[in-house]
């Protein structure tokens, strides 16, 4: 089986960590927790690291097994299929959300009068082809562009210093709003779950684990800085600005002479959203083949494409409606799949005979 290296795992985890967090989430969180959203972010990012540690432990305990094999062995095949079906639904929702956020962003920022089909065509063609090539080429491609993406994000953050107003006021939110905000948008976090689903295709040693943690620390730091800069620049109007990474540099009169530097943010988001959807789609197909073993990746892709095209064409949901819909159901999905399931897996590694012991 073709596996990916620890560096590629780190890159994939890093890209997934950016998912849903750098455009619309800061303003949505601000509506609930104001500047204290930074703490929500920090807590949930810490939870990502906790998940990552569970992942490492599970990987060490079952170095060759897939996540499906582990849970079907411990919980039974039927339960494993149900869990995987829920995961498929959850991933599908996340892809739909990333797509819609990106679509609205591009529509507002760069494609004023372009057809809706352009986006659908590009996303489907690129992501489908990436999935068809396999995880290794996709991971290598992500590896190729990762430092470019990081450099672009850093560039945007550096430019935003010029717009820095004053530090936001912290500890200005009621506990109920703080926890409600965090709970509602739980589904925007926990993408480390995808690593669990790819664990049989990942090669990881001690050094590799440290590398993954290092990469995620860098990405987390960038996201936290972005939030602080965003709230500092826009303060009480933060909830209006739905494109955080772009807006922190767009609203600067100092850079008009240099031209539209928000193109950097736009290109970064293009890369990130295409990678995020491709990786999530790959995992979607992996889960699909686990539930329906005789059907291959191609059937998974066809199913996804039909569902995706059908939903995006029929429904008139934009990302705000999708997010609102998500805040009703998805937090429960997130708790069960992102947090409880890995915790149960942690329990598997604590007791009983596992693969490593058997060997």
């Amino acid at each position: 089986m073709k596996t990916i290296s620890s560096r590629q795992t780190a890159v994939i985890a890093g890209i997934l960590l950016f998912a849903n967090k750098i455009l619309v989430l800061p303003s949505l969180l601000y509506e609930h927790a104001k500047a204290d959203s930074v703490f929500i972010l920090a807590i949930l990012l810490l939870a990502e690291f906790a998940l990552l540690l569970i992942f490492f432990r599970l990987k060490r305990a079952y170095p060759k097994s897939s996540f499906y094999q582990i849970i079907s062995q411990k919980m039974g095949v039927f339960a494993a299929k149900i869990i995987y079906f829920l995961i498929i639904l959850y991933i599908f929702y996340k892809i739909l959300l990333v797509y819609n956020i990106s679509y609205v962003y591009f529509r507002v920022q760069v494609y004023l009068d372009a057809s809706f089909y352009i986006f659908l065509l590009v996303f489907l063609l690129v992501c489908n082809s990436c999935v068809m090539r396999g995880l290794r080429p996709l991971a290598r491609c992500a590896e190729f562009f990762f430092f470019f993406i990081i450099a672009c994000v850093v560039f945007c953050l550096l430019l935003s210093i010029a717009n820095f107003n004053k530090f936001p006021i912290f500890f200005d939110t009621a506990y109920s709003d703080f926890f409600l905000g965090g709970f509602k948008y739980l589904f925007c976090f926990g993408d480390v779950l995808l690593l669990f689903l790819l664990m049989h295709k990942i090669e990881l040693d001690k050094k590799g684990e440290r590398q993954v943690v290092r990469y995620l620390l860098v990405v987390s730091a960038l996201i936290v800085i972005l939030y602080i800069m965003f709230f500092s620049i826009f303060n009480h109007t933060s909830f209006v600005h739905k494109n955080a990474l772009s807006d922190i540099i767009t609203f600067s009169y100092r850079f008009t002479d240099l031209g539209r530097l928000d193109m950097v943010a736009i290109v970064t988001v293009m890369f990130l959203s295409l990678f995020q959807i491709s990786i999530a789609l790959y995992v979607f197909c992996e889960c699909f083949t686990q539930i329906f073993p005789p059907l291959g990746k191609v059937y998974g892709l066809i199913t996804f494409d039909l569902l995706f095209v059908g939903l995006t064409l029929i429904s008139t949901l934009d990302y705000l409606q999708l997010t609102q819909l998500g805040t009703l159901v998805m937090p429960y999905f997130a708790i069960v799949l992102q947090y409880l399931l890995p915790l149960v897996c942690l329990f598997f590694t604590l007791g009983g005979r596992h693969e490593k012991n058997r060997n």
Binding site: S5, R7, Q8, F106, Q109, V110, Y111, L112, A114, I118, F119, L121, V122, F123, L125, V126, S129, C130, R133, G134, R136, P137, L138, R140, C141, E143, F144, F145, T256, L258, G259, R260, D262, M263, I266, V267, M270, F271, L274, F275, S278
Partner: protein, 475 residues
Amino acid sequence: MFFNVEKQLKSIKKQLNSSSDVATRVIQTASSQKVGMIFLRSMINSDLFLNGLCKPISESDERIDIEKLASSLVKTGDIKKIDEKQACDSVINGSVVIIIEGESKMLAVDLQKYPARLPAEPPTSSVIQGPREGFVEDVKTNITLLRRRFYTKDLTIKELRIGKFSQTKIVIAYIKGIADKKVVSEISTRLKQIEVDGVIDSQYIMQFLEKRPHSLFKQVGSIEKPDIVAAKMLEGRVAIIVDGSPIVLTLPFLFLEDVQSSDDYYNSHIYGGFIRVVRIIAVLIALLLPATYISLRIFHSNVTPIKFLVTITNTTKGLPFTPFFEMIFISLLFQILYEVSLRLPSYLGLATSVVGALILGDTGVKAGLISPPGVIIVALAKIALYTVPEQAYQLTILQYLFLFIGGSLGMLGIVGLVIYLITYMASIDSYGAPYLAPFAPRVEKDLKDAILISNTLDMKTRPQSFKNKNITRQK
């Protein structure tokens, strides 16, 4: 069975279809013994034939036997004892086949000579500093050019013939102890499996060696200079020399190789690294500039900087073509001029350039058919292509592809195409070497000679992007 000279000569000539350049000669020695010779008049050195072969035979006053004759021919090339079945092949290969009356074996004396040019600087790989020798069409000369660089028994040369009719000599050269055995044997197996009518140039076998022959991307290195091939062999690559071609193929091949030039190593490593960066920027300009320009004009005028937008609006006012068609038109015009200047004799080439670049371009702008920014962008992109001449053809196709995608899908399409291409390239494997190494996957040690070049003293290991038998390059 002892030979009858006339009968044997007739039989061999018949096997050679009695071609008009097949010559036979029968010499009667002083001891009245008949010695027959058959050869291709067009393939042998006639001076050597007369003085080194005919003269000693005709002047011999005692009976000649095959052993005695072989030891007395000191001026000729290789001498081989052959049987009747090998006679034809020997003649075809430029040997004179000698049949001695009363003997049961024949002698094949190598007197091969054909017109060949001397090593000169190849037009596509000229350097400011460094060796100027280039490979030639003669395989023997090419082997000599390599041998001169390696006075070691480890330089291994394996020869085979490919082509049903051409029977072209193909030479596999590598350094034993550095090149990976598996790679060598895989290359040799692939070469042996080739069944074609003829191999006229090394490009004929290139696609047989590629893992993905239908791909747009080049997967085999093609080099015209012995110093570069020698350097690549020292890194553990295998060279394939084809008789009749001045281009030597090298494997495994990484995409980055064509961005590197021998000049980079013959100058200061700092300057070499700088030039590589310039080359990479040029490639990006060549691929992305026209596509970005057109996508900004068609889709993203709102993100175009105001001053730039005003300039473009002023200069493109009243143009009869759409932006996309305008760019395609200028690109095709440039392509036609390039093709014409390539095919025309050099004395007409300059005139064509003047007519094309100055008159057509200038008049086109003045006539209001094309815009000055369009001309500048296409010209810059087309010139930038040739900073990496080995990849110019592939990049040209990609340039049109990007132009088309930029014009129809905008920036998102361009980014999508970039991801598609890189994913595709990342899936290519060249004899165990990932095509995009050392970037994807990242091979830390090879980054010393990827874009920026480290000091020679720091390059202690051979590339690890592909398999090597011996990693240590220097201590």
